[in-house]
Symmetry: C2
Subunit: 192 residues, 2 copies
Amino acid sequence: MRLIVIVLCVLVIGAAFSAISQAPPQPAGPEYTKDGLLNFPKDYRQWVFLSSGLGMTYGPAGNTDGAGNPRFDNVFVNPAAYQSFLKTGTWPDKTVFVLEVRRSQSKVSINNGGRVQGELLALEVEVKDASRFPTKWAFFDFSDTFQAKAIPATAGCYSCHREHGAVDNTFVQFYPTLNDVAKVKGTLRGNQ
Amino acid sequence: MRLIVIVLCVLVIGAAFSAISQAPPQPAGPEYTKDGLLNFPKDYRQWVFLSSGLGMTYGPAGNTDGAGNPRFDNVFVNPAAYQSFLKTGTWPDKTVFVLEVRRSQSKVSINNGGRVQGELLALEVEVKDASRFPTKWAFFDFSDTFQAKAIPATAGCYSCHREHGAVDNTFVQFYPTLNDVAKVKGTLRGNQ
């Protein structure tokens, strides 16, 4: 009898962990080195996509490359924070955003007009971690590194997000699906 | 002793299933009604984002709205198919793509140039299901419904994807990260 119980338990545990291992990566939040540098979240392309813009004029990456092509901005957020936003209309502590900037191109394959995405140009991260940053949110530039320290809090990204973020330091006004959630939850700041 | 084993098993199983329940939805593939209609995958915004384009000229949705604004195309794929593509450079049976078409707008909040995403305009789905469709891949229009039958195989989307898809009926040439994977795996068709 005891053997049957143990065998059954092993089978069920095995099935459960097998199901977990098939799920995509689920980072709980920001991860730091011993020296306090933020590790780049390498699996961010499997996180939740919030929106894209082309040639937007705000933000540190500018709106065109050297050849005058407008740039695409893609924004991703960690899945746990996204789930929390759907329920509350705002961001929990340990939220991680990734801003991916890509070159745009026009004549590619059968595309004869408009713009499609190309080469990676820049990677930036915004983290909410109240116990670590006096400003609660901090910004990081990962364009040339996989480990980065926070950009100084005097940089323009801090004041711009603080003053113009429609929800808690973030530009939810540019994320159509979450903008709708924030409206319903009553968490959207007006006139941003 | 037997009691301890049982209690331990219950605790471990509980932890494992708790981890599963926190994971985002993991659709195994396309789901159909009894009548053979495809159910719209409502959680697609939590799937894996592949890329966006603005004003692209191919495809059934055209490139501008009635007011002359170019449209954004966002493409998502189900996570299981994405994981398989990373390993093999091609799509497994039961792959599901969602094409989301959105209005673009310029003057929104602090954005003074370029384009950001707005209102949803159209939803289309491409499914690989060899046992169900003689063409292996089938297309569906979900712009006005949550359950749809396949678009007839004589429609232009079938021949266009078949002739110009860089990998197995899909426009991987427009998805920068997967284009790189296909190059490494040797699955990219040339001259598409």
